[in-house]
């Protein structure tokens, strides 16, 4: 801050206040970049040009493009909304499927038809044929699936020999079912999903659909195997079903494992923030901790900063993947101080020797940085405190240690992490 913009107040205080004034004159706030000023300047011009009711309409688009910085709360809120939507969509699909099994009008919503069409596009002819067929086929005379399908305007129609095409499609589906059965048998034998499920990968979406049916209807080992396979080929959309299954105690572990695998980082964070069973939340956090992406690190820091999740996060920090640990060390340089503090708390709670050694090295190589000191302070172990005690003997380190203590106190209300 410039000295000329600081004014000592007209309060008759003692020496201590002169010192406080000196300290306050040192305060330095973040400075806005030129882009921010330009945005505000443009907003001002537009706001002044517009008038009356038009003002809000004219200016809102400008506000919308104000900042490209992502608000983590918005991301989480959108994720939660997506989960709820997916859950209801899942329920609706289930009900539709069940209805289709009972009612004899399965053509439009029959999922197998959808899959077959997806699988065998080469056996389909363009919709132009439909018009020709219409002209020679009595509409009400044929109620076969093919005829009904042909009468849907704009839909793809089977080739000239619908019976053989259907046979081929069915056999294709049967092949998939056989393939799935062998995978499930492999899983039931106790082999790893990575080994058994490789063959499912080229057609993940189709197998995901078939697996959903098995997860819903099968029992015993077959159901468990299907849940495990789901974790390998499933997508975010299977999470509601898996969470429903996870409520059954005997299937919980497998189902939660699958949720951990299929969920995106945002989805995992949203599920953790949703609350509920502590054990499940902890498992989901472990799932996030095993990820290796910068996005995972970003979300991890956000969760550590969230009071409801902080303790749970700190309980599983030893599960952090080496890649995430590297990213957290990099976050010690983050421009946002809360990110730095979250990284410090995460790293400080790890008990492995390599993290400790690395922090010690940072303390030695960067004697004026308070962040590594704060990690050791937050760690609070005997070794860490011994190292800090040795450090404190050096008068040059006193200010750094004090800064670290104040930052930790400000962030957490405590000087060191009590285990």
């Amino acid at each position: 801050m410039n000295a000329d913009s600081f004014k000592q107040p007209d309060l008759p205080d003692g020496d201590l206040d002169a010192e406080l004034d000196l300290l306050l004159s040192e305060a330095k706030w973040p400075e806005a970049d030129a882009e921010t000023l330009m945005r505000l300047s443009a907003l001002t011009t537009t706001a002044l040009q517009a008038s009356g009711e038009d003002l809000a309409m004219t200016v809102k688009p400008l506000i919308a493009i104000k900042s490209d910085r992502q608000n983590p709360w918005v991301v989480i809120a959108v994720s939660i909304a997506a989960i709820v939507l997916a859950f209801f969509a899942g329920r609706w699909t289930t009900q539709s499927d069940r209805q289709n099994e009972i009612v004899a009008k399965p053509q439009e919503l029959n999922p197998s038809k959808v899959i077959e069409n997806t699988l065998l596009p080469d056996q389909m002819a363009p919709s132009g044929d439909t018009e020709d067929k219409k002209s020679v086929t009595p509409l009400m005379g044929d109620t076969s699936k093919e005829s009904l399908a042909n009468n849907q305007p704009g839909k793809l129609t089977p080739s000239a020999d619908p019976v053989s095409a259907k046979r081929k499609r069915l056999s294709q589906r049967d092949k998939m079912k056989q393939q799935l059965d062998s995978v499930l048998a492999c899983l039931e034998e106790g082999q790893k999903a990575e080994t058994c499920c490789q063959t499912l990968l080229p057609r993940k979406a189709q197998f995901e659909y078939l697996l959903k049916e098995i997860v819903r209807t099968a029992t015993g080992q077959r159901q468990t195997a299907a849940i495990a396979a789901m974790g390998f080929v499933g997508s975010d959309g299977t999470v509601p079903l898996l969470l429903e299954i996870a409520e059954k105690p005997d299937l919980r572990i497998t189902a939660v494992e699958s949720v951990k695998r299929v969920s995106s980082e945002q989805m995992l964070a949203a599920l953790v923030l949703q609350g509920g069973d502590v054990a499940t939340r902890k498992e989901l956090l472990i799932g996030l901790a095993h990820r290796k992406t910068p996005q995972a690190a970003f979300i991890w820091l956000h969760l550590v900063r969230t009071p409801d999740c902080r303790d749970l996060c700190l309980q599983v920090v030893d599960e952090l993947s080496p890649e995430l640990v590297d990213l957290l060390f990099a976050e010690l340089d983050a421009p946002v101080i809360d990110d730095r503090l979250a990284a410090i708390q995460s790293l400080g709670r790890r008990v492995d020797e390599s993290t400790f050694k690395r922090t010690e090295l940072l303390c030695q190589n960067f004697p004026h940085r308070w962040e590594p000191v704060a990690i050791l302070m937050w760690n609070g172990s005997e070794t860490a405190m011994g190292f800090l005690a040795r450090l404190q003997k050096n008068p040059e380190r006193y200010a750094v240690i004090q800064t670290a203590a104040i930052q930790l106190k400000t962030a957490t209300g405590a000087g060191s992490g009590s285990r």
């Binding site: 801050m1 406080l20 330095k28 001002t44 706001a47 004026h368």
Partner: protein, 170 residues
């Protein structure tokens, strides 16, 4: 654009940097400050005709900023009022880094003071306004300004005590 509109624009543009600096000091970070200033500028533009010149334009705009800031404080979760964007570390020497961390820390503590204390301290100490002017701007009595100022300074003495001691030691 008419001549009058151009004059208004010049007036607003000339105050933008000051207004942004004030908003940053009040909120503690650029992101929230920008939000507040946007809303303030919209309000000010809408009601520019109500500016009758009985105070300076800067004071008038500052009053709007304070009003928007107060609304923002009540609507924002307390956990989010923590600082989000202190300065990024630069390619400076270690001593400079240490000094920068210290300066950031002091600013953080100022921006974390209770709302009214923060307003008074920022206006008196950093915006160089007299307690009388601050009282008028914030709609407080002069005694109230002094008591808030004293409370703010006492709070800072407490929270920055270690740094003050450090300063003495150094």
């Amino acid at each position: 654009m008419s001549e009058a509109d151009k004059d208004w624009e010049n007036l607003f543009q000339s105050q933008l940097p000051n207004a942004l600096r004030l908003a940053v000091r009040l909120t503690g970070n650029v992101h929230d400050a920008e939000d507040i200033l946007q809303e303030s500028l919209l309000r000010a533009a809408r009601s520019r005709e109500t500016f009758r010149g009985d105070c300076t334009f800067r004071t008038w705009l500052n009053r709007i900023i304070v009003n928007v800031f107060r609304t923002w404080v009540t609507s924002k979760p307390s956990v989010e009022t923590l600082l989000e964007e202190p300065m990024a570390p630069s390619d400076s020497t270690d001593e400079e880094n240490e000094q920068q961390a210290r300066s950031e820390l002091i600013a953080q503590h100022v921006s974390r003071l209770p709302e009214r204390q923060r307003e008074v301290l920022v206006f008196v100490t950093y915006e160089q306004m007299s307690p009388q002017d601050v009282a008028e701007l914030l709609g407080l009595t002069i005694q109230n300004v002094y008591s808030n100022l004293t409370a703010a300074r006492q709070q800072l003495r407490k929270t920055l005590g270690a740094l003050m001691k450090t300063g003495v030691d150094q």
